[in-house]
Symmetry: C2
Amino acid sequence: MTSGSWEEFFAIHLPPPDFEDNRSLLKEFCERHEHYGNKIVLVTSGGTTVPLEHNTVRFVDNFSAGTRGSASTEYFLEHGYAVIFMHRQKSLEPFTRHFTGQKLLDMLDIQERGPNTTITVKPDSVDVLAPILLRYKAAHAAGAILHVSFTTVSEYFWLLRAACECLANLGPRAVLYLAAAVSDFYVPKDCVPTHKIQSESGPPIIQLHLVPKMLAPLVNLWVPTAYVVSFKLETDENLLVPKARAALEKYKHKMVVGNMLQTRHHRVIMVTPDATQEIILTREEVHAGVDIESSIVLEIVRAHAEHLRGAGAGAAAGGADWAPREPR
Amino acid sequence: MTSGSWEEFFAIHLPPPDFEDNRSLLKEFCERHEHYGNKIVLVTSGGTTVPLEHNTVRFVDNFSAGTRGSASTEYFLEHGYAVIFMHRQKSLEPFTRHFTGQKLLDMLDIQERGPNTTITVKPDSVDVLAPILLRYKAAHAAGAILHVSFTTVSEYFWLLRAACECLANLGPRAVLYLAAAVSDFYVPKDCVPTHKIQSESGPPIIQLHLVPKMLAPLVNLWVPTAYVVSFKLETDENLLVPKARAALEKYKHKMVVGNMLQTRHHRVIMVTPDATQEIILTREEVHAGVDIESSIVLEIVRAHAEHLRGAGAGAAAGGADWAPREPR
C-alpha cells in the first residue's frame, strides 16, 4: 500500500474548526515582521496524533514532550528572530517549560492579610525565575512570538501549509525548524469508526496507511527559498546518518538534525549537503543544565546568515519571486 | 482471541524501574494514615499508553487530560480524606490544574532592583490564586496527598496492585476512585519490535490484544471490603447505563460513574446496584466555573459513610479480616 498524494490528503481531511482564526493570526504576524524586515522562524514542536475513532477516545501518538522545540524557541528569540511556535496542545512551551508541575506553586509565599493579602516569590527562587520572566515578558511585549497549536496530524498539516503560505513572502529570510514528531502512519478518515471501539467484539486490528511526505511540496512549492531544517529521530545508530543524507538528497532542503532517542538531550548530528557536524554536551555541561538547543540554534543562525548572503544583497527585502529557485 | 489472565499479565510484564521506591512511599503513606484512623481514597487519573516499540517512539494512547481525577482530588481533600493521586505523567494535577500554560507567568510582576529584585503576584490575580495556594499548602503540610505517576498500562497495573496491597489494611475505610482511562488493548511484550518501525517497509498492521480486566481481582482479592468506584466513558448514549449495570453485575463493586465524551464536564450518571442518579450542571453553574467533581465527590463521600455504617461499628478500627466479604 503506497501513501496517497499530499493533494489527496488535503482533499480528504477538512480543515480544523479554528483554522481560519489561526490563519488570520499567522498572516498578521508574518506581515508585521516582514514589514520590519525581521527574520521569522517557524518552530514545530511536540508529537501529532492519529485518531482511531471519530469521537476520539483512542489514538496513536508519537513520543515527544516538546523539549527540543520549546527550548529552541527561546534561543531563536535571543538571536532576534520572530518565532511562530506551532506546538502540540499541552506540550512544553518556551519559558513555562522551566516550571512544570508544582514547581511554580512551591516558589510562592503567601502573606494573609484579608483583603490586603499578598503573594510573593520566595527570595531564593527569584534568582532562577527573574531572568526567565524578563525574557518571557520582553518577547511578548515585542510581539515576537505567536503560539498556534495542533493535536492530530491533519490539524498539523493544515497549519503547516497555512504558515508556509504566509512565510513565502519572506523568501530566504524565513527558517523552518521542523522539530515536531509527525506521524508516519494514519487511519484514513473513512476507515475510522464513529463510536468507541467496543472491547466485547474482541481486539481490533488497526490497518495504518502511510502519511504523504509533506516535505516534498513544502520545499518545492510552498517556501522554495526558505532555509528548511528537518529532524530525524532514530533508535538505531547505524541508520541515523544514512537516513539523514537520503532525506537531503530526496527533498533537497538545507539541513537534517539527526538524533537518537536515548541520547537526544546531549548529542545531535547536523547533516548538510556538504558536511556532517556533531554536537555533544560534556558531562559538566549536562550537569550545569546547559541546553543543547543553544548550540543547535547558534549553528542554524550562522548557516542561515550564509544562506541569506548566498541569496544576494536583495535578501533583506525578501520576496520569493526574485530569489533563486531550489533545483529539483 | 481472548484476554490472558491477570496473573499472566504480571508474569510477562516486569515491574517498572522505580517500582520499589513507589511501593515504599505507598506503604509509608497508608500506614501513617491508618494509624491516625483516616480514610484514604486512591484516585487514578489520566490515560495509559500502549507502546508499539521497545524504544518507544510510537504508542497508542487513551484520551484523557486528567481533569476528572485532579479536580476530584481537591474535593476529597476538602472532605478530610487522605489521597493517593496516581496519575499519568504530565497529566493535570490538583491545584496546578488551574494554572496551565502561561497563566502563572502572566500573573507575575517583577521589580528589578539588582540583587534586591522581587517578584510578586499582581494584585488582581491574588484573589484567584490565594485560596488555591492556601489549600495546596495545607494539603502538603499535612502530608495528606501522595503523588505517584505512570505512563504505560503495565506501569499502571503494577502501581494499582501495590496501592491495593497497602490499602487492604484499611478495610472499608478505603475508597478506590478509578478515573484513569485504562487501555483495553495492548501489544504483548514479545510482539513489540525493538527499533522504530521503518516507514519504508510499508504501513504496519498493529494486532492488539485484550488487556485483562483488573477490576475482577481488585474487587474479589485485593481490596474486598473497600468502596470501589469505576468509570465508564462512552460516545454512544444508548450504551452508557446498560454497560454500567453490566459492569456492576460482573465485578460486584459499589458504583459506576458513567459519562459521555461530549458532555462529561457537565453531566454524569452515578449507577449503584439499587439506583441511578444523574448529576447535571446548569448553564449558570458551567459559566460560573463550578466543577461537577464537587457534586460527584459529595455523593461518593455520602455513599462511603453509609458503606462504613454497613460495615459495622468496628469500621473505625478498619481491617479486612473481620469485615463482610463481598459475595461473588
